[in-house]
Symmetry: C3
Subunit: 273 residues, 3 copies
């Protein structure tokens, strides 16, 4: 990874729950550019619900593989800032990930058995004064910037073997039935579930199905939104290869009706026909 | 246009209805930078109402001429993704426009009679696997990136002569009266109409006027907001050279009162005094 | 400052009340890149409440020092656009600030006694046609772009000594009590006050305290959010070195209960124990 900075362009992505009204994202960018004026910073999202580690981990997992190799992904959803929680760096074959050790990186760690997790302890890569409330500015941004200059990751602290795991809701198979849940709702009101393409194919084995979420019942899996008439519900495999409930030219979340905690977590049942 | 990439800096703008919470915009940027690490990507807006082609076409028309010549404008408001609708590239003297063929580019096509529209058919400029639901990632972003490297547009597919038109509401002249409508409301609550400076001047011929929208009646056209006292309604020619109803230090949309479908489409009548 | 452009990378920050739906921010970026294609533009925020000069000045003051020396900070919160208000440029030892003369820069001017304020009068650095409603596009963006090319600030107009001041609410000391107010609420619902670390230390002299805001009463100052149990209120010195009322894993603004004008301006009293 020492060649990242040498290539001339180093990409740093940012994924936070800071929103776009406060100055926090701008401050992180200022800190990065002060260390590496040639860094190319790309926003993934700053609209993660405050402190919502699971949501951030879904968004990260969906987005990270589309960036050039060598990209430094920087994620700051950090409700435990200033506490004993560690700051970590995950090194995989293709990417670097800088984040608090709060489970955020767990889904990626689990899928990269050769990845190494480093506990960020070398304060020379931080800002001189570390606040108790804004490690995005004082630790994560400067570490990402130093990495983008080609700094060796393994000089930044010791390797650890006990990163904090994250409990991720998994779908349950019961005979000819698969039970999952809504894990993300996008701007279009599409209900994205934790049931992926592979699990669906294993269940259906080429047969048809009925999908139920709340009072909505849908027969069969469509290929794209326009496969059903305008205003009609459908089920498809979305762009992240997960099963998704949608309404053509409409909004599936609204169709589901008002729910106290939104539609996140809503039970989704697929029955093989 | 083959010299775009050769100049050293290639600008790609993005205009979508993806919002800023989901990872979709970040993913498009990752795909572009994977193909052209030196591309300079600029956001126009990602807050187009979902699927609102007309709104996107107004925003695009207002913004595109302010960018450097050679800029590649990439617009993804694409309710028909995955259906038979074509992906197109508009080549004008100064710019390239990449978008779905759903009417979005129609206002620009109409005003650039020498422009050429290309049906994007050459799959070698797409991502290897094309999803049915996210052509922003799989077709439009990679095409824009290849164009930014200097790729010849006319190698990307055949020229077509039948791009999909868009019905744009036009103001109606009736003697000494002009009747238009509100087509866009900005963050300040300014009501931007489809009546442009030229049409207004032709109507008034130097005389005064009365403008009516809902229950608001305003006499005369002001030069700027501060021409009337704080909290007062006014009419002016806004920065896009269209007639605009505003409230100094206030919000004209709120002044109009609650309306079922917002103030978009509200009738605006100008009478020559 | 003539060496800004010479360094190869010139940073321009943008802070506006334009929001991210309208094309205004994109247009400003297009104008800048048309003049200096190598400018690196960084957003601080575009979500300032419309016309809210005081809020913009707080955000600016918090963010600007984190950017590399030579950065050109461009602020467009401009309710008086098109009126007699001047356009100004503040030159400090480390930064340039381009803004309307409406008080926005006052907190920075007051703290930089060696800074010079220039009235931007040289129209050759503006766009050829100046609208009456969008000086961000027509004056501030092109001035920032020319500065980023290394243009001498003092060629842009005469030095003035009477920039418009801004009334900033100051905390009041009464014996062993300090009375301030909430001046900013961030995305996490943290209530940021106008009481800074120094004023607090002078009051407390190492002793304990009780902080009151609305019906919330908190004993003692914590170091970070996680110092109290989940859902509990706390007081701490935030990342901008101001006293802040927060709720661990929660939202202090919501805790304060509904208030007609939000919690901005809410009285905060600290009593030395």
């Amino acid at each position: 990874m020492g060649s990242v900075g040498a290539r001339g362009t180093a990409f740093i992505t940012l994924l936070t729950d800071f929103g776009l009204t406060d100055p926090y994202v701008g401050i992180m960018k200022g800190v990065i550019l002060g260390i590496n004026p040639k860094a190319c910073i790309v926003d993934i999202s700053h609209q993660i619900d405050p402190g919502h580690i699971l949501q951030a981990s879904f968004i990260l997992k969906e987005a990270f593989p589309y960036f050039p190799k060598g990209t430094i992904h920087t994620i700051v959803v950090d409700p435990g800032v200033g506490s004993e929680r560690r700051a970590i760096l995950l090194v995989t074959e293709d990417y670097l990930f800088v984040a608090p050790d709060n489970g955020l990186l767990w889904p990626i760690i689990s899928e990269h058995k050769n990845g190494k997790v480093i506990h960020l302890t070398e304060a020379r890569f931080f800002r001189p004064c570390i606040s108790d409330t804004f490690h995005g500015r004082d630790i994560f941004a400067p570490v990402a910037a130093h990495l983008s200059l080609g700094q060796e990751p393994f000089d930044m602290g010791p390797i650890i073997n006990d990163p904090l795991p994250l409990r991720i809701p998994e779908p349950k198979r019961r005979g000819h039935q698969l039970e999952g849940q809504v894990i993300r709702i996008d701007r279009f009101g599409n209900l994205i579930t934790n049931i992926d393409k592979k699990a669906l194919e294993e269940l259906l084995q080429g047969r048809d199905c009925i999908v139920q979420v709340g009072s909505i019942q849908i027969k069969g899996v469509s290929r794209t939104y326009a496969d059903v008439s305008s205003g009609k519900e459908l089920v498809l495999i979305g762009s992240s290869e997960h099963l998704e409930i949608a309404v053509n030219q409409g909004n599936a979340r609204e169709r589901l009706g008002p729910r106290p905690s939104g539609a996140i977590g809503a039970r989704v049942v697929i029955k093989r026909a």
